[in-house]
């Protein structure tokens, strides 16, 4: 009875910003490639990826130190930075679309704190689990717990903010702050009872860093983030419709309840996994979608793809700054993103304080 949805054929009319957004996609792919290459080349050890590549091409033996630096340290770290950056930016964009609010962000509304509580509980209380369960989960325990924490917080938040099918933005923000504080307090109790070794783990985890990236950690966290990144663009049309409001979105043909469920799963999965492996990295989720909306408009179809690319490129860049500014020591990357992101966020607020609409 109804034809499959598809795009209008022919050249794009002058008012259509979407083709410009897709051209930006090509630019961002290029930027991500440049950032990745630079990230592989920069580091405390003087290893050059080009020299290693030349050695491999020529069939020469690669020095052990260079091989370890490149393939066991820089490459997993690059992959982790790209995935975490993409996951955080896409989570922010999806969350903003879901709550119809340009200021929503998993960090701002307590979802990250919930994921953090999950991760801390796994680190501190993981030893109390029956050996069978701990053995099955192994390296997956912390990301799975973070995922569960982020997911539970998102669901509770959505339940608190939604009444008779209408999600209240003010309730959501205030509820998120309360939930974040609660999760922070519970995390504090767990930190209090943690032993010295656990405290060390917690401290490094909490500062926010990609320094611990290994292929094993990546293998544990990547599937959730990749799944969320693949799922997100499928939400784009629905999120566009949702910007009309839930009722009107249903009237233009969006299966709203299913959209909300998938969006919540996506945000919780991506945020949970990202927080689990990298700690508290702020501002990526809110700054990246905003920059892109200012540049090419709010259409979620290019926005979600571009957010993933820009988030990945930015976090790789921030990580390069974090590890080269005071080399051979490292700044926690959370500090770098906050120092870069804070002023940008304020700039957005100043530009738009007249038209925030709530």
């Amino acid at each position: 009875m109804v034809a499959l949805p598809h795009e209008v054929a022919g050249p794009a009319p002058h008012w259509d910003r979407t083709p410009r957004a897709w051209r930006l996609t090509a630019l961002l792919v290029l930027a991500l490639a440049v950032m990745s290459a630079a990230s592989l080349a920069v580091g405390a050890a003087g290893t050059s990826p080009w020299a290693v590549l030349a050695d491999i091409m020529a069939g020469r033996e690669v020095a052990l130190a260079d091989r370890v630096v490149l393939f066991e340290i820089r490459l997993p770290r690059l992959a982790m930075g790209a995935l975490v950056g993409a996951a955080l930016a896409v989570s922010g964009a999806v969350m903003q679309g879901l709550f119809r609010n340009p200021l929503a962000d998993p960090g701002l509304v307590g979802v990250s704190a919930g994921a953090g509580l999950g991760a801390i509980a796994a680190i501190v209380l993981g030893g109390l689990l029956p050996a069978g369960i701990a053995g099955v989960l192994g390296y997956h325990l912390v990301p799975v717990a973070a995922f569960a924490g982020g997911w539970a917080t998102t669901l509770v938040l959505y339940g608190i903010a939604t009444r008779r099918g209408q999600t209240s933005v003010a309730t959501m923000l205030l509820g998120g702050i309360a939930l974040g504080a609660l999760a922070g307090a519970l995390s504090g109790i767990l930190v209090y009872i943690a032993d010295d070794a656990q405290l060390r783990d917690l401290t490094f985890w909490g500062l926010g860093s990609l320094a611990g990236a290994t292929w094993t950690k990546l293998a544990a966290a990547a599937p959730l983030m990749i799944l969320a990144l693949v799922a997100a663009p499928m939400l784009a049309r629905g999120l566009n419709g949702l910007s009309l409001g839930e009722a009107a979105a249903a009237h233009v043909g969006i299966p709203v309840q299913r959209l909300k469920t998938v969006a919540i799963l996506t945000v919780a999965g991506a945020t949970g996994a990202a927080v689990a492996v990298s700690g508290g990295i702020g501002f990526v989720g809110i700054v990246v979608p905003h920059l892109l909306r200012l540049a090419t408009g709010p259409d979620h179809r290019p926005l979600l793809v571009n957010a993933a690319l820009l988030g990945a490129a930015l976090l790789i860049g921030a990580d390069m700054i974090a590890r080269s500014l005071i080399a051979p020591a490292e700044l926690p990357i959370g500090i770098v993103t906050a120092i870069l992101g804070g002023p940008v966020f304020l700039w957005i607020l100043l530009r738009r304080r007249g038209s925030l609409g709530f």
């Binding site: 049309r237 910007s243 009107a248």
Partner: protein, 262 residues
């Protein structure tokens, strides 16, 4: 045909709509009128499937609740009273959101055509949030029109549900929008509109449903429902309906003397 039988809506423990029977035919403009809080919008939201309700609704013989959202979207469009947008979309991008159901998506130029239809030609790149309330309302009408551009499809009428479509508009645009509504019905589509303006209702509606206190007081042609003895108790104020020799009934509140405060 739209048939609603014994529609009851409860919000919490309060019954805000009680046993409403409502009919609308394709090719006609059916208006829902009544004082504030009488249940007009609630009835409309029950008819569009937005509110859960008791009773039976059949739209072209289908139970709307049983249709997939995108199938239902190809059958009927809904214009709310006001639609604030969360993000800085342009007028054209808002209209394009109406094409997501996919039925009309193959038709090129539908976005500018729909904007031109509501008198907003050239408004495509304008930011929606910077438009006036009346312009926003017409952009949203263009979006709904784009969703069901042809009043009939596959031999079936399509339906337009409008919640106070002209309340934010000046008199010129009120007449323009009611003309669009009339044309949609004349081309075979069905219109159900919540109306505040009884004169516009008398000018454009074929059938009027009068609501008061969550109940349907009467439904029928304008001449049968827009009567002093029905309107005055419904609106709780003296109203005098008059008739022009050629064009049917009209209202002048001042014709009934000084307004008594209730």
């Amino acid at each position: 045909m739209l048939e609603a039988t014994d529609i009851t809506v409860r919000l919490g423990r309060r019954e805000i709509l009680t046993g409403v029977d409502f009919r609308a035919r394709p090719g006609q403009v059916t208006a829902i009128v009544g004082p504030n809080g009488s249940g007009k919008t609630t009835l409309l939201r029950a008819l569009t499937g937005e509110l859960s309700h008791d009773g039976r609704i059949r739209l072209n013989q289908h139970d709307p609740a049983s249709l997939r959202p995108w199938v239902l979207a190809g059958l009927r469009g809904v214009l709310p009273q006001a639609t604030p947008m969360a993000f800085p979309f342009t007028a054209a991008e808002v209209v394009r959101l109406g094409l997501m159901g996919g039925v009309e998506a193959a038709e090129p130029d539908l976005v500018p055509k729909a904007l031109a239809r509501v008198g907003l030609a050239g408004f495509e790149p304008r930011p929606y949030q910077e438009l006036s309330g009346g312009e926003q309302q017409r952009v949203q009408l263009a979006r709904v029109l784009a969703q069901i551009w042809h009043p009939t499809a596959h031999g079936q009428p399509r339906w337009l549900f409008l919640d106070e479509p002209v309340s934010a508009l000046d008199i010129g645009h009120q007449l323009q929008v009611m003309r669009i509504v009339r044309d949609f019905a004349d081309a075979g589509g069905g219109i159900v509109a919540v109306m505040h303006d009884l004169n516009l209702t008398a000018m454009f509606a074929d059938s009027v449903a009068l609501m008061a206190g969550g109940r349907l007081m009467a439904q029928g042609p304008c001449a049968e429902v827009l009567r002093d003895d029905l309107l005055s108790p419904a609106y709780l104020c003296p109203l005098r309906v008059n008739a022009l020799p050629v064009n049917g009934p009209y209202l002048l509140p001042q014709a009934s003397g000084p307004i008594a405060a209730e």
